[in-house]
């Protein structure tokens, strides 16, 4: 909402108040002023000129040489506008003037002819092209004949004005009208308010003699007022009216349309003007459209209608889409002489639905959608009739044609001052509350210590006691509210074990060298199920904004890979990122997908990079595996953790493992498939994805101290030669099973494949630790245990001791 302070001043005396101060006070008490627009834009030396003579420039077809009376002299100005003509009153920027855009006007010579200034268009004075009346859109603006040469043109054009741009919250639709703003400002300033006085002569002929009205859809159209004005002379509006509209962001058309727009802005009540003769039938019928019915709206677009769209018809065909836009067939035009003024109440939900459907949001529909003031429907029609009489020479027929079943009673709210104070934590006296409500012009009685309030219908936002509390608080000032803390039982705050462990996981991964990433949950259909740990239906948006963001992800890996590609493309060769976030799986009974929190990582490039010591190591499978093991160890879950070779789409078939916890698959690690890597412009890249929810909610053993050993442990190393395909994990299992209870630990410490072993074989070296907490082991015992291990290895894995 654009509020011209010049216009506002007609209702509330704001003379002498700096617009910035006014804006600040309005903002602090409830309506945010987004910007303060000085319409003069610092212009000077812009005056009224009279074109005394206008001849073609001999050297240039498109230029005219004008002799212009600018008050103190008649001077020569070259003008290129197609519509300049002798006898016009025009806007002249004299030499020395500075126009918007730091456009300095100087004396100049154009094709050999002197030019002492510029004849201006409205655009050149900083008015947006879309607001300039069509007649002047392509040329200079022509002032009324009575403009006086030499006079400052800015006040004449209403440009000595400051406009406040309101950022209205949806509840304050009352401020979608100048009168609503006037009420608010008068309350803030404790000032009087001057409402428009409606008084005009009427003809003896009655409106209902000419027009019949029938409302069929009474629920969505509980009130319809039509007035008829005859003998209208459609013309340009007076300058003050055009100025008011342009200041409010509305383009002037002609006096009839301008008046309806002016009253819309003044009262917040949308009006529509029909050409009575073009209605043809002398009848208005309000009804729901037929399914598939077609009408052409004012913007010359043919629209196909639905049965829930409300239309105004002439009894035969639609002449307006109720509350949204008029029809082209009944539009007021230059030759119109009799006008029907429509002022109605259309149900917010109906207008909202229709305007959304046809994609039309007009000044009218935004107001109807929020609910107009039931008590202004009739008054706004009267105001428009008055202005048509005054400004368009119209003759208003007596009375109105009315259908009215609209409830116009005020909401009664009873509230005690104690209740208000207890909710605010303040001590405001009842007298002060009464003063505030009086300033707001909210009718209030004090009965038995209670405030009995009849909330005015112009304030659709006042419905319950809390709304009154807000009115009192905001006018009293939020700065006056003291600062206290809730008085209640003190509760121990904190993280749940799950939340605490999630933080530990993040810290661990960061300590291991990974940076935390946050990627989007929405992804493309192609990527939705890639790398998913389980198969589930995809959750799709009804109306995605783009294909790339059309479904919910089932794995964090695709977007982490995108992040890796992004970084690698910027020459960051080593990337280590992790993310914790939800994946969305299928659909549960209640219609929501199952959301499971996962933790994932992507690693590529170097893992250790200490170049001057010639120490660099590329990320490999075992780096990622080590991270998973470290993390699980930290969470006390190492014991149940195992890895098993797995084949997963998009992953390197030989370098991928499923991660199992207590035998249950909870994730995977491995290298991205080389084709996938190539597609994403990545070199060797490893990923992990684990079901974090499963991990963090897994039960763990109690943390209990184990006595520090008092007896020494003894180590024995063995080097084995086995077939290349034999897995280290299997050998370790054999060793553990055969080692008995004395075997405390097994560690692989060497792996060799090469010239020194037979082809098709490899060598692995294990270090075994034997230990008994009760005593020192004898050599004999160890040899016995060790031999058992060797025997098992030979028998079960065809392993040979390496000589």
């Amino acid at each position: 909402m654009l509020v011209s302070t010049k216009w506002l001043n007609e209702y509330v005396n704001i003379n002498g108040i700096n617009p910035a101060d006014l804006a600040e006070r309005i903002t602090r008490s409830g309506i945010e002023v987004d910007s303060i627009i000085d319409r003069s834009l610092g212009m000077t030396n812009v005056v009224v000129g009279h074109v005394v003579e206008c001849v073609k420039h001999p050297e240039a077809d498109k230029l005219n040489i004008c002799q212009v009376d600018v008050g103190d002299e008649t001077t020569q100005i070259i003008c290129g506008a197609p519509n300049v003509a002798q006898g016009q009153k025009v806007i002249v920027a004299r030499p020395g003037a500075v126009l918007p855009g730091d456009f300095k006007i100087k004396k100049a010579k154009l094709r050999g002819e002197e030019s002492n200034g510029m004849i201006c268009s409205l655009q050149e004075l900083g008015i947006e092209g879309k607001l300039v009346p069509k007649a002047y859109a392509e040329g200079i603006y022509v002032l009324p004949e009575d403009a006086v040469p030499g006079e400052n043109a800015l006040p004449l054009l209403g440009l000595d004005d400051t406009v406040l741009e309101f950022d209205l919250t949806p509840n304050r639709s009352d401020a979608l009208s100048m009168l609503g703003v006037a009420y608010e400002v008068s309350a803030i300033l404790s000032q009087g308010i001057a409402l428009p006085e409606i008084d005009y002569p009427t003809a003896s002929e009655k409106a209902e003699d000419l027009l019949k009205l029938r409302v069929d859809a009474t629920v969505v159209n509980p009130m319809y007022v039509a007035k008829v004005v005859k003998n209208i002379k459609v013309a340009e509006s007076p300058l003050w009216l055009q100025n008011a509209l342009m200041a409010s962001g509305v383009r002037p058309h002609n006096n009839v349309v301008d008046i309806t727009n002016y009253v819309l802005l003044e009262y917040g009540q949308p009006l529509h003007a029909f050409d009575y003769d073009r209605l043809e039938t002398g009848e208005i019928v309000v009804r729901h459209a037929e399914k598939g019915e077609v009408m052409t709206t004012l913007d010359d677009v043919e629209r196909k209608l639905n049965s829930h769209n409300l239309v105004i018809t002439n009894g035969k065909e639609p002449v307006a889409l109720a509350g949204v836009m008029g029809g082209a067939n009944s539009e007021v035009h230059d030759g119109t002489t009799t006008v029907v003024i429509e002022s109605a109440y259309f149900a917010p939900s109906s207008v909202r639905r229709t305007s959304k459907e046809v994609g039309l949001r007009s000044d009218a529909s935004t107001r109807f959608e929020k609910g107009v003031d039931p008590n202004r429907v009739q008054e706004a029609a009267e105001r428009a009739a008055q202005l048509m009489a005054e400004l368009a020479g119209g003759e208003v027929l007596a009375g109105s044609v009315i259908f009215d079943e609209l409830d116009k009673t005020a909401e009664r709210i009873t509230i005690s001052p104690d209740y208000i104070n207890s909710r605010l934590g303040m001590k405001i006296s009842m007298d002060e509350m009464l003063t505030i409500l009086e300033r707001l012009r909210i009718p209030t009685q004090a009965i038995n210590g209670q405030l009995v309030i009849d909330a005015p219908t112009r304030r659709q936002d006042l419905k319950i006691r809390e709304d009154i509390i807000e009115e009192i608080a905001r006018m009293h000032g939020y700065d006056e509210i003291p600062k206290t803390l809730p008085v209640s039982e003190s509760t121990p705050g904190g993280l749940t074990p799950y939340q605490a462990k999630r933080r530990i996981v993040r810290q661990f991964l960061e300590g291991a060298g990974l940076y935390q990433a946050v990627t989007y949950s929405l992804t493309s259909k192609a990527q939705a199920q890639a790398f998913a740990l389980e198969t589930a239906p995809v959750t799709e948006l009804l109306m995605p904004m783009s294909e790339d963001r059309s479904v919910l992800r089932q794995s964090l890996i695709p977007h982490l890979l995108e992040a890796a590609t992004y970084n690698v493309a910027r020459r960051i060769d080593s990337v280590a990122l992790y993310e914790t976030g939800s994946v969305f799986l299928g659909e549960e009974e209640d219609g929501l997908p199952r959301e499971v929190e996962h933790v994932s990582a992507v690693l590529t490039g170097k893992w250790v990079d200490h170049a001057w010591q010639a120490e660099t190591k590329k990320v490999d499978f075992y780096v990622v595996k080590g991270i998973v093991e470290g993390m699980m160890d930290l969470l006390g879950l190492l014991e149940g953790l195992s890895f098993e070779k797995a084949v997963i789409d998009g992953m390197h078939p030989g370098r991928t493992a499923a991660v199992l916890l207590d035998g249950e698959r909870i994730g995977m690690i491995g290298q991205i498939h080389p084709t996938e890597q190539k597609k994403r412009d990545l070199k060797e890249t490893y990923v992990m994805e684990l079901n974090l929810e499963r991990i963090l909610s897994a039960e763990t053993d109690e943390l209990l101290y184990v006595p520090v050993p008092r007896y020494p442990s003894i180590s024995r190393d063995i080097a084995l030669v086995v077939a290349s395909g034999t897995s280290a994990g299997m050998l370790e299992t054999i060793i553990r099973n055969a080692g008995g209870k004395l075997l405390k630990d097994v560690k692989l410490f060497d792996l060799y494949e090469g010239d020194k072993v037979e082809e098709g074989k490899k060598s692995l070296a294990f270090s075994m630790t034997y230990f008994d907490p009760e005593r020192t082991l004898t050599d004999e015992e160890i040899v016995k245990a060790h031999e058992k291990v060797l025997k098992a290895l030979t028998e079960e894995a065809d392993a040979q001791l390496r000589g």
Partner: protein
Amino acid sequence: MEQQLQQLKEEALTKIQEASTVKELNDVRVAYLGKKGPITDLLKGMGKLPAEERPKMGALVNVVRESVTESLEAKMMKLEEEAINAQLEKEAIDVTLPGRPAPTGNHHPLTRVVEEIEDFFISMGYEIAEGPEVEKDYYNFEALNLPKGHPARDMQDSFYISEEILLRTHTSPVQARTMEAKGGSAIKIICPGKVYRRDNDDATHSHQFTQIEGLVVGEDIRMSDLKGTLDLFAKKMFGAEREIRLRPSFFPFTEPSVEMDISCFKCGGDGCNVCKKTGWIEILGAGMVHPNVLKMAGYDPSVVTGFAFGMGPERIAMLKYGVEDIRHFYTNDVRFISQFHRTEA
């Protein structure tokens, strides 16, 4: 013999002084104090002396031996020290070469902001509540006093999955769910999480962003309690000298509703580019829980009241760290994220 002894001593001491290595010194030791050395010889020859001279000579020999031993030891220490020093000199390194980097990674800046906020409210006795990102229309809107067709739904254009299911547009549904679950008892929670709105991604909009909201419900919770809580929060988060101000606003789920500004932490309120010359920065929205919201969750609004507030970690991070484009939070450029590794004052 006495003279002989004295001469021996002089000789030994000179050799000790002349020895320049541990080996040479050991040779001197063997030569003079060893079993075949002259001093031992002298002691052995004592038997030949008259009995009355023996004690005197014995003492004299001991004095000489001690003095030689002492000198030997002193010299030995010196030589050893020199040897160590020489060794250390050989081991010297260039301390200006770069250190071996310890692995580094760090929180995403949004997590950093969220955890800082969480930790403050945890210290005030709040718990952290979380909920689904795909929500029912009921919890996202209806339970929050936003029935279908309510004009305020326009404030938040949503991604729908079906008529009744959508991506949550705020973390408020977690509040609605918590209230419903608590069945009428008091609540003090903070709800952080991802939210989604139909916005084209640009410098100031993101279709996915983060929110963190708070909710306190109990008997006699007053608006002054909201103000006091937010004041403490602002001071903790943005500096002890911060002032707050509340401005009236509108949210369907609170009444009265306010927006909170803090005095600009960059200029202190004088006006700068961060606060757009106003001296104030808008940080969060808040209000007293709307009676309809309480009612729908099973509370009696005549007895139980509450306050709620909500803010955007992106906005806070942008203000705090001077980030100019919201998309930085989602491109995951390592050069961006890694800047948030250090502590703040």
